[in-house]
């Protein structure tokens, strides 16, 4: 039997960079194939070529032995390629059935389609309700809608781009069952993920990309995570070390019984949230996106004020009524989720971006900017965090997401904050940079500051946090010491289960 898909000598060049260089990839029928590589390794370009978004400069694509051209996504779908995007391609204001109808390009009525959706959803155990509006759905439900949409086209190759980054561990397990079932029915799967333990559990073969080239193949069932990671980064894997401050520090960030209704239509109401972060402590907040993370971060950073000044305290001072600048003066630093737009200005140089939040630390004298000092500050950050940039005058938007994140982390740490809020600090960041960022967070805590990390990556939270709490439907569970809880227990809480013997509503004893 010919392979389902064979890419030969695929090359794609963008202005200065070679995104793909002579890439060969073969996927057999029913095979679950992993595509591994760091950010910028060329994975997304390759996937875009397969799905018809991008045309390769040279190289051949063969589908089931026949050479083909894939000029646009419609052509890809006609061949039998389905894709579940990393960022969901759903329309919030439309219903599930309407969304699926838009993706199918078919001419059947919504009623007929609804019947087919229900059929597929039963067959694969993918619970979706066709008549609901997408903005009501959780992230996991949205992904199921995307998958059902693909399955309705009876795909013979399903591309999954980082599908589990937004799922609870239990939801991810459910997804794997669906993928295994598809594979047993002969559908091939191309699986892209940073999470190597998932690759090991799911995939039979892996192709590793680095700098746009294929640098190796492996069998993830045999290769260790360490081996795969080292293939991806092309060197030995640095290891993060935790030096814990053991003494019980003073509270540096507190929320007391805070309830706040959402201020936008797809937002989450915060319900009776209490938490205490102490000096020298890393507190991890786990949870699936959309359960109040955005809201709690806005309330802590000062982007949203709380009605009662005393409900948020920064270093002991009631700060609920203070804006972000005033809270920064109290010693709070903030690494937001969006790098360009909230963390940094894309059109500004790195020097100027450095000044944005650090200007209070002696970089302005008599109303004038000390350009020499701020340039040195930017250079120090670039050096300490190994930021890959053309120089301190490089524009923020010219950096890759991971490098911009390293720069922002460096900028926030450079002011020696007493409290650091970090929202999804390593999201979309490659392995090397992620380790550097985690190490920096741990170093800051070891030096006596309190760090609050909101993340969806449980492995990360378990690696760096002293305590973990879970956010679900706007409620925060009682933080538990990391060594007294488990990934399974946290996963259950993320899905709305309650921990045995304790109610998440009770304010915890500080």
């Amino acid at each position: 039997m010919p392979p389902r898909l064979r890419l030969t000598g695929i090359t794609k060049r963008y202005a200065a960079t070679l995104a793909n260089s002579d890439v060969n990839l073969t996927i057999g029928p029913g095979e679950i194939h992993a595509l591994l590589g760091e950010n910028g390794a060329g994975k997304s370009t390759l996937v875009k070529i397969i799905y018809g978004f991008v045309r390769p400069d040279s190289g051949e694509i063969a589908w089931e032995g026949e050479p083909v051209q894939i000029p646009d996504p419609n052509a890809a779908r006609k061949l039998g390629v389905g894709m579940v995007f990393q960022h969901f391609s759903l329309f919030e204001s439309l219903t599930v059935a309407e969304n699926i109808a838009l993706g199918l390009g078919a001419t059947e009525t919504i009623a007929e389609l609804t019947k087919r959706i229900e059929e597929i959803s039963r067959r694969y155990g993918l619970a979706v309700t066709p008549t609901r509006h997408v903005h009501h759905l959780s992230v996991g439900e949205r992904q199921r809608v995307e998958i059902v949409r693909c399955l309705l086209q009876s795909p013979r190759l399903l591309i999954m781009d980082e599908p589990t980054s937004v799922l609870t561990p239990q939801e991810a397990e459910g997804l794997f069952d669906v993928l295994r079932r598809l594979s047993s029915e002969g559908c091939s799967v191309l699986y892209i993920s940073h999470k190597l333990e998932e690759i090991k559990a799911l995939c039979e073969r892996a192709t590793v990309l680095r700098g746009g080239r294929v640098v190796g193949h492996c069998d993830p069932r045999i290769s260790s995570e360490q081996q795969m990671a080292e293939m991806m980064i092309g060197g030995a894997l640095p290891v993060a070390h935790r030096t814990s401050a053991l003494h019980e520090g003073a509270p540096c960030l507190q929320i007391e019984r805070l309830s706040l209704p959402a201020d936008e239509p797809f937002g989450t109401n915060l319900r009776d949230i209490s938490l205490t972060l102490r000096d020298g402590e890393i507190l991890g907040v786990a949870g699936v996106a959309g359960n109040g993370q955005k809201e709690i971060l806005a309330v802590l950073s000062g982007e949203r004020l709380s009605p009662d000044a005393g409900s948020v305290r920064v270093c002991g001072t009631a700060a609920g009524h203070l804006g972000p600048t005033a809270r920064r003066r109290l010693g709070l630093a903030f690494i937001p989720e969006e790098r360009i737009g909230r963390g940094a200005v894309g059109e500004f140089s790195l020097t100027e971006n450095g000044l944005l939040t650090a200007y209070g630390s002696g970089f302005v004298r008599g109303g004038l900017i000390r350009f020499g000092a701020i340039a040195q500050y930017a250079r120090d950050i670039i050096k300490r965090f190994v930021v890959k940039a053309a120089g301190i005058e490089a524009r923020g938007s010219s950096l890759s997401g991971g490098n911009m994140q390293k720069f922002i982390v460096g900028r926030e740490m450079g002011t020696n904050p007493r409290v650091l809020l970090a929202a999804h600090p390593t999201w979309g960041v490659d392995i090397g940079a992620a380790i550097a960022i985690r190490q920096a967070l741990m170093d800051l805590a070891a030096a006596g500051s309190g760090v609050l990390v909101v993340s969806e990556d449980l492995a990360e939270l378990f690696e760096i946090s002293d305590k973990i709490a879970v956010l679900f439907h706007g409620r925060l569970s009682v933080p538990k010491p990391t060594n007294e809880t488990s990934i399974e227990e946290v996963g259950l809480l993320m899905g709305g289960g309650t921990e045995a013997g304790a109610s998440p509503v009770v304010a915890h004893a500080a």
Partner: protein, 309 residues
């Protein structure tokens, strides 16, 4: 009997006053639902008014005149489309420029036609007019474009929410990137929407110069294009509310004339403000639910789309 006749007269006058707002408003509603904000409605209406008038006088055929007006509106909209969609110029600035251009160009084109007399649109579309009761006769004397405007809300409502093309239109207006990812040609859909909006504005303008007050004078649209634009936003992009807003505006305009006729001791300037105030107050009241506003507003409104390969 007398009261009923007055009521019918007011209803007829209201419909006539609301018609240009509805024609232009529904054109703009479709344009905005595709994610494009065209502030050039006033200019396109003026082009439609002058070209429609000249076309009718020159050819002697109101049908041809209306068609030419729609073409003129669409031609202006095409300029807007090329600038904002293909060349990604700022939509707000381009739309304002379009209005300024339309005001001047329509005056230039129509300069020799000011004061030319014209028989209005024929209302002779119904059979056996003379045998109908007088009240029905009054309704039947309404010109055909009014009936188009009466049907329009229901057609647009059906189109947007019940047809596949309408669903695609909403999708493109909510997220052009996602629509593109699904394989829809965002620019083509937006061009269609912009051209439709232009044609409807042209038609609305021609209604003013051919039926509402059959004549051409410079700047005769007198801000109705802006009112139509405001109604679209205040109606939260919902067809039936847009119809309601247009009728309300038309009704208060008429009521204001009636009040003047009855010798109400109010400054005429204050009375002239009434339609605007009443419309804004009512529509602000019905659109104050922020959540619903966000759900109906085309999220991609005003944002240029560029397919990044």
């Amino acid at each position: 009997m007398h009261e009923v006749e007055i009521a019918v007269a007011i209803a007829v006058a209201t419909l006539r006053a609301a018609t240009p707002l509805m024609l232009a408003g529904f054109g703009e509603l479709i344009t905005e639902r595709s994610g494009v904000l065209n502030l050039g409605v006033e200019g396109m209406m003026l082009m439609g008014a002058s070209v429609g008038f000249i076309g009718t006088v020159a050819t002697g055929s109101p049908i041809l005149g209306l068609l030419l007006a729609m073409l003129a509106g669409a031609a202006l909209a095409l300029v807007f489309g090329v600038l904002t969609l293909s060349l990604m110029a700022n939509q707000v600035a381009t739309g304002l420029a379009l209005t300024i251009f339309g005001v001047g160009f329509s005056a230039l084109v129509g300069v020799n036609w000011v004061g030319t007399p014209l028989q209005g649109l024929s209302t002779d579309i119904w059979p056996s007019l003379s045998t109908a009761p007088p009240m029905v006769q009054q309704l039947m004397l309404l010109d055909p474009l009014v009936w188009v405007a009466v049907l329009l809300p229901f057609v647009v409502q059906w189109f947007i929410y019940r047809t596949r093309a309408g669903m695609i239109l909403r999708a493109v207006g909510e997220s052009s990137d996602v629509a593109h990812a699904l394989g829809y040609s965002v620019l083509r859909i937006r061009y269609f929407a912009v051209l439709f909006g232009g044609a409807m504005s042209g038609l609305a303008g021609a209604y003013l110069s051919l039926a509402y007050s059959p004549m051409w004078s410079e700047n005769m649209v007198a801000g109705r294009g802006w009112i139509a634009l405001a109604l679209v936003v205040f109606s939260t992009w919902k067809p039936l509310w847009l119809a309601l807003g247009s009728l309300l505006f038309g009704f208060v305009t008429i009521a204001q004339f009636q009040a003047e006729g009855l010798g109400l001791a109010l400054s005429p300037h204050l009375l002239a403000m009434l339609p605007y105030i009443a419309t804004i107050v009512v529509l602000v009241l019905i659109s104050r639910d922020a959540t619903r506003l966000k759900l109906n507003a085309p999220a991609a409104l005003g944002r240029p789309f560029h397919a990044t390969a």
